[in-house]
Symmetry: D2
Subunit: 293 residues, 4 copies
């Protein structure tokens, strides 16, 4: 089928390629003319036959809002927009309403796959009305991995991004789990060969996983990770997962601990630990470490 | 090769079977005569040619100590004992010394695989001197899964159980990660079909894993886990992991949160939350829930 | 001075009393005619001389918004509104702008003191422009405790509620700290008399505090808190504190753990622990506890 | 009454002074002759009339064991030893048995008070048989603060140190609570004056406490704690509290989070966060921060 694709960065560019390999006609637009198929977004719309489908793959927040606004004015009744970016699920209902006011459909798609997606396929979690989801099925089929898994219609508008967000929350805690275990193994004397312990875990264990395979890859590159700083960014979904949990009074101790460990990793020095040190000094006369001049 | 196997419960019985399928001669002893190959432990020792190898697969603590003590008196110089049970790594050095005093070798083996091990193979993490580990290689090869993974000589005496203990600590946090995500998805209205979300994650995602596959199995049996109570035991290794972390001043927030969640799950009522409720009532006149008579 | 007071519930009613004892003229309005001084909000406005000051003491969210909206239309240029309720600090800027559009000032006041405030005084944390804060000083002085503490002009609009919110976040973790310690002491055999241990801590220790005094009061009423359920509500500020921390990438492990413990205390059964139990059963054949019919 | 005091460091020296001010006869011994009253421990024993009481105030572990061993051989039937150091409660029963074998009594005393104890008094939590505790009452009365609080006979041998250990665990979480709140307040723009917010909390709030008073002292010295590093030691009791909780299956999320925050504060770089960064790079091509050469 035909599809418009707005945003041809690392993810969008690879998705265009995977869709074309599957025989679909993709009209891509990007503000970077070097990668764009058409000079303007309006050209993209003009080149698609109706009812049109346009996949938006730009950064969450302002950029996505801007593209949705423009599409609202360019598209026609019965066209459909897919937001495949990392939008917060709370934005989806707003976008769906805005487009519905003009008779345009909306589907949200959480996409996982990163740099491996082009070859292996992208896991897709989608939300929206069955009518629109069905229409886009050929596109989803082309993007998803071969085999029985990697695609789900999770529920109403927003459910796709919500499911992807929770996926990322789980991912945070799984990464933290391996990281904590690795640090402890590296710390003790009796274990000589932590990298080989990790490698051995890739079969027969309860904790075998794709993330574990990646950990082994990383240790093969740099056995004790000496080249890295212990500094980890977070991409938004972890924060939103905790906020969603708070809204729903669901306790998420492991996921939240994983998020906070990242926050702490980015601090040059810990203000809260200054206060703890100051208090210990006040009541116990315990020595404090002072900053070097 | 020949090997004695002490303890023929769920794990030991299956390991005997897997070793025999691989062509090894196994003399098994168990206090339950219905499954034992010989009437007494001394018969097991008598039927093995020297230098002997005896694999101990009985509960950690007292039962393992008892078998080690008896083997110390029955075995000869240059024989070797493998402790494949769930012993705490701190016991291993003690056992190794006790046996070394009589010239008997000792190897500790952390074993993962549970009910799936007979067919799929058992992951093995072993600790001890290279000489003894090498001698036991044919047994390890028979027990481990086919393929390149599932076996490691992790280090000195105790390193096998230590690595297995950390494996279990990681396992706790991974289980908690999926469990937290599942609870949050079940709680929100927009997601209709949590089981299918989990199923879809089995390919193309960052969080695909064997545990995820098992979660899907569990949800196929009972979609909303309505038949279960939210009650989880812990088996010792999680506690030991946290204790080892404390000894080594390593922060393990996600693993520890997972352990504490299990502790809390087993309380009929939470004493600490009674105190919180009592305090809220004291300063704010907030209502408390009282026990029903 | 003269002040209007909207909302005469448990807190507002006591504040009216404390203000009157200090010689101020208070015109109180409540939708409950039994406690209201005037029949309508407009009467309250009419009975005050300009420039007027009106203190709003109604539930956060909708009710506060409604009163602010009505006051915006009733008050005149140079009047000032104080929001002393538990509003989220993010609402304050919105309210301030809405009122500023008509030349009306706005001050937010976080108020602590609960049922003890009438006699002991209320701690006040206020935010807003110095001009308005100064004008209200006599009212703040009457409400606050005697002595040098219990009042602060914390910063710009919103700073009062923000400081009060953080106060409550700290309160959550302090309550949790005592509660955890109490549970552990109650659990061990060697300690005979946990209540007397708590009582003894009221002097000479590092952890002496007003909350500790309240804990002793509670234990004097019910030594082992046998009459209570381990069930604790949360009032919003704890959640907002964690959300503010996430917005600012500040790790709050102890405060968040305290909030999650309350969430868990309110669950009949733990969905996440069902999943953990289900997974243990899948890989290890571990028994699960099933619901009683 | 007469009492021997072994260990005249910061704590022991001040306790000797406080006991003497109360009219007791104290014979102090220290390995540092500059502060010792007698040249040898045996002289201390010789100068006391029987039945003797000797208070041990030396570092926990080896040094305490050594003094107990020597006193076991020097003291007579019906004498009594008090361990007022920071011993782990599990050592107390061992010490009590060792001394009981020679008819010597044993009492353990957890002592709080730090540098403030000389003037204000030391909070005492004691464990042991009532007979010995009674005999030492005049000493306890002299050391404790004036007034009704600051002393408890908590239970059997070990109960004193156990109660003191839990006191310290609570202390960790309370310090963490204030520290988290302080960091969040310092981070946001709307709050101008965090120190004055803390000062104001000293009356009328739920969180007023002695630790809060100390926090204000610290901020008066250094408003933003700019002179300090965010580096906090831990003294053993926090670790033991978590270990005791694990032994008793009691969840301590806030206290443990506080302990882990201190562990993390002492790491130059976080190994676990290196692994998280490495994994993010593996699956997402996310940039990592590398060490500077």
């Amino acid at each position: 089928m035909q599809i418009g694709l707005v945003g041809l960065g690392k993810m969008g560019g690879n998705m265009r390629e995977r869709l074309r390999r599957a025989g679909h006609t993709v009209i891509g637009f990007d503000t970077n003319p070097a990668v764009s198929d058409v000079p303007h977004l309006s050209d993209l719309v003009d080149q698609l036959d109706g009812p049109r489908a346009v996949w938006v793959m730009v950064p969450a927040g302002g950029p996505t809002q801007e593209v949705i606004d423009r599409l609202a004015s360019l598209l026609k009744h019965d066209d459909v927009v897919v937001d495949g970016g990392n939008s917060r699920w709370t934005d989806d209902e707003k976008h769906a309403k805005e487009l519905a006011a003009r008779g345009i459909g909306f589907v949200d798609a959480g996409v996982s796959g990163g740099v491996w997606g082009l070859e292996h396929g992208y896991a897709l979690m989608v939300g929206g009305e069955a009518e629109y989801v069905e229409r886009l099925k050929p596109v989803f089929d082309a993007l998803k991995p071969d085999g029985p898994y990697g695609y789900v219609h999770a529920g109403k508008v927003g459910a796709g991004h919500f499911a992807k967000m929770v996926h990322n929350g789980i991912e945070y805690a799984m990464m933290q789990a391996y990281a904590e275990g690795w640090e402890l193994l590296e710390k003790v004397d009796s274990v000589d060969n932590v990298r080989e312990v990790f490698r051995s875990w890739q079969d027969g264990t309860v904790i075998r996983s794709w993330l574990l395979d990646l950990a082994v890859n990383a240790l093969d590159d740099d056995e004790h990770l000496r080249k890295l700083r212990g500094y980890a960014e977070d991409s938004g979904e972890g924060r939103w997962t905790v906020e969603a949990a708070i809204d729903n009074a669901v306790p998420l101790p492991a996921i939240t601990a994983s998020l906070f460990a990242r926050f702490a990793s980015r601090q040059e020095d810990s203000p809260q630990m200054k206060m703890v040190a100051a208090l210990r000094n006040q009541f116990g006369g315990h020595a404090v470490e002072t900053k070097k001049a």
